[in-house]
């Protein structure tokens, strides 16, 4: 995305707030599950994977055992494949089988809900989890499908024409979440899930 004329961009979460949100979500997940037994964290690429690893580490610090963590790429299950040239496919890594597991899907931003819908369909072809939960760093509203998150780092009301940008140190070199007003025509088409 090019940085055109003055973007009105404001930071809504700084590094410390992100860390606290992750720690809180890690506790919530363990609490809802009454411990770590059966848990598998699957992050949705790209930043969902990083978040999943951070949550797993936080949970390991609390429980003293490591939580199986992996990645679930959903490109092939998207409902909008035909609207753009062929998209590159990301990496899927299942640390263990998902049959009878409690799978926690992890993503950075929950928006229309379509990405999560694709993830649920993908998960369905991989096995039959006992339960599927959703943990997101940001819920920005504007759902188009009946999808809701179980664990939310921050609820962030936004306008449809705003863009939420999550940056994580492992990928972007810095930890912060910003909102940018996006007037470009492609903003609606490119919206992520």
């Amino acid at each position: 995305m090019n940085d055109a004329a003055p973007e009105a961009s404001r930071v809504v979460l700084d590094a410390e707030q992100i860390a606290r949100a992750c720690a809180r979500m890690a506790h919530q997940i363990l609490e809802a599950n009454r411990g770590a037994e059966g848990l598998v964290l699957l992050g949705i690429p790209t930043r969902g994977v990083v978040l999943a690893e951070r949550l797993a580490k936080a949970m390991a610090d609390v429980e003293g055992i490591s939580i199986p963590t992996g990645a679930l790429d959903v490109t092939m299950y998207r409902d909008d494949l035909r609207t753009q040239p062929t998209r590159p496919v990301g990496h899927t890594h299942l640390p263990i089988g998902v049959d009878d597991a409690v799978v926690v899907l992890v993503d950075d931003v929950l928006f229309s809900g379509r990405t999560v819908r694709a993830a649920l369909d993908s998960l369905g072809d991989l096995g039959r989890p006992r339960a599927v939960r959703l943990a997101v760093l940001i819920d920005r509203g504007h759902r188009e499908l009946p999808i809701r998150a179980d664990h939310v780092g921050k609820n962030l009301p936004t306008a449809a024409d705003e863009r939420v940008r999550v940056r994580l140190e492992e990928i972007d070199g810095v930890n912060e979440v910003t909102i940018v007003r996006d007037d470009s025509a492609s903003s609606v088409a490119v919206r992520r899930g």
């Binding site: 790429d73 490109t75 092939m76 299950y77 494949l81 035909r82 609207t83 753009q84 040239p85 062929t86 998209r87 590159p88 496919v89 990496h91 899927t92 369909d121 369905g124 072809d125 991989l126 096995g127």
Partner: protein
């Protein structure tokens, strides 16, 4: 990418992406549900003018695992003798509303000619002695996995020397492999008796050598090509034994290879002619891996062709031979 007609259609970036994608696709083989919805609603026709159970089923499985509707049309038996032109055959099949034609033909150039007549995507599954791009892709994919065992994260084949040995003149696999390996940065050496080297080979991006024993010690991989016994009647070589002694990968020749050097063969093999049983079954033989890679590679190619928007406008009203 609109069509895949030649290995030269791929540059380093697209070839790498296709191989990376094939790694993902290959994970499907171990899953209970071997299905991805990406090509749901797309129709793929395997239009084979030449028999090939292996390649055809490989494409069929690849399409079906991507949820495409796959149909096999066998057009064997020269269309010339049936009075139907190639153009008519291709147009008739395409008129049913297909998204992609996978064409195998005994004559070089037929898939390329087809692209002039129809709007669908065309995938070359082997045309005469010209090219077989998905074979080259799966050979490269198999070699990359082999090289990554000792060099994890290897990005391309720079610094690797690879020999292609045998009937280069009549081999579409040789042409495609040479182009793709060269794109991937490898140094290619062609080894054959002079009668089996094509006209103009001196203009190809490869070294040429007629002595196999000189080449084997320096290669990181050797690809053996199938030699047809019928070539004897064309005067290409005098006897099978002379061919084997001069150019076959015999058991003694295995000792000349570097440790870790890979052995490849596109199949089907003439055990005892161009390749000994010992070589085919050697520890560093990748022949079975090549076969296994076929579905994953073809899935990645089909997805690349059909998994996105058809943004390329179809060829507009063509001039050419007007009615």
């Amino acid at each position: 990418m609109r069509h895949l007609l030649s290995a030269a259609d791929l540059d380093l970036t697209s070839a790498t992406e296709l191989m990376d994608l094939a790694e993902e696709m290959s994970l499907l083989q171990g899953r209970p549900v071997k299905k991805l919805p990406a090509l749901r609603g797309r129709t793929v026709v395997n239009l084979f003018f030449e028999d090939s159970t292996r390649t055809r089923s490989s494409f069929e499985i690849a399409g079906k695992w991507l949820s495409a509707d796959v149909i096999n049309v066998s057009a064997k038996g020269s269309s010339v003798s049936k009075g139907e032109s190639l153009r008519d055959t291709v147009l008739t099949v395409a008129a049913m509303g297909v998204d992609a034609l996978v064409i195998r033909h005994h004559a070089s150039g037929a898939p390329r000619q087809a692209t002039e007549w129809i709007d669908a995507h065309v995938l070359n599954a082997g045309d005469g002695t010209h090219e077989h791009p998905t074979q080259a892709m799966l050979d490269a994919f198999t070699l990359r996995r082999h090289f990554r065992k000792s060099e994890p994260g290897l990005a391309d084949f720079a610094g690797k020397t690879i020999a292609i040995v045998g009937d280069v003149t009549h081999s579409r696999v040789a042409r495609s492999n040479l182009l793709l390996l060269q794109t991937l940065g490898a140094d290619v050496v062609l080894v054959a008796p002079p009668t089996l080297l094509p006209a103009g080979v001196e203009t190809w991006p490869a070294r040429v050598c007629t002595e196999l024993d000189e080449v084997l010690p320096i290669v990181d991989a050797v690809m053996m090509l199938r030699v047809q016994r019928e070539r004897m009647s064309g005067g290409y070589f005098p006897t099978p034994r002379e061919y084997t002694i001069g150019y076959g990968l015999t058991w003694p020749r295995l000792q000349l290879l570097k440790p870790g050097a890979a052995i490849c063969h596109p199949g089907p093999m003439n055990r005892g002619l161009e390749i000994s049983a010992e070589a085919a079954d050697a520890a560093n033989s990748l022949i079975l891996d090549q076969v296994a890679a076929g579905v994953a590679i073809r899935m990645s190619v089909l997805y690349s062709l059909l998994g996105g928007a058809d943004d390329t406008p179809p060829p507009s009203a063509r001039e050419g031979v007007a009615a």
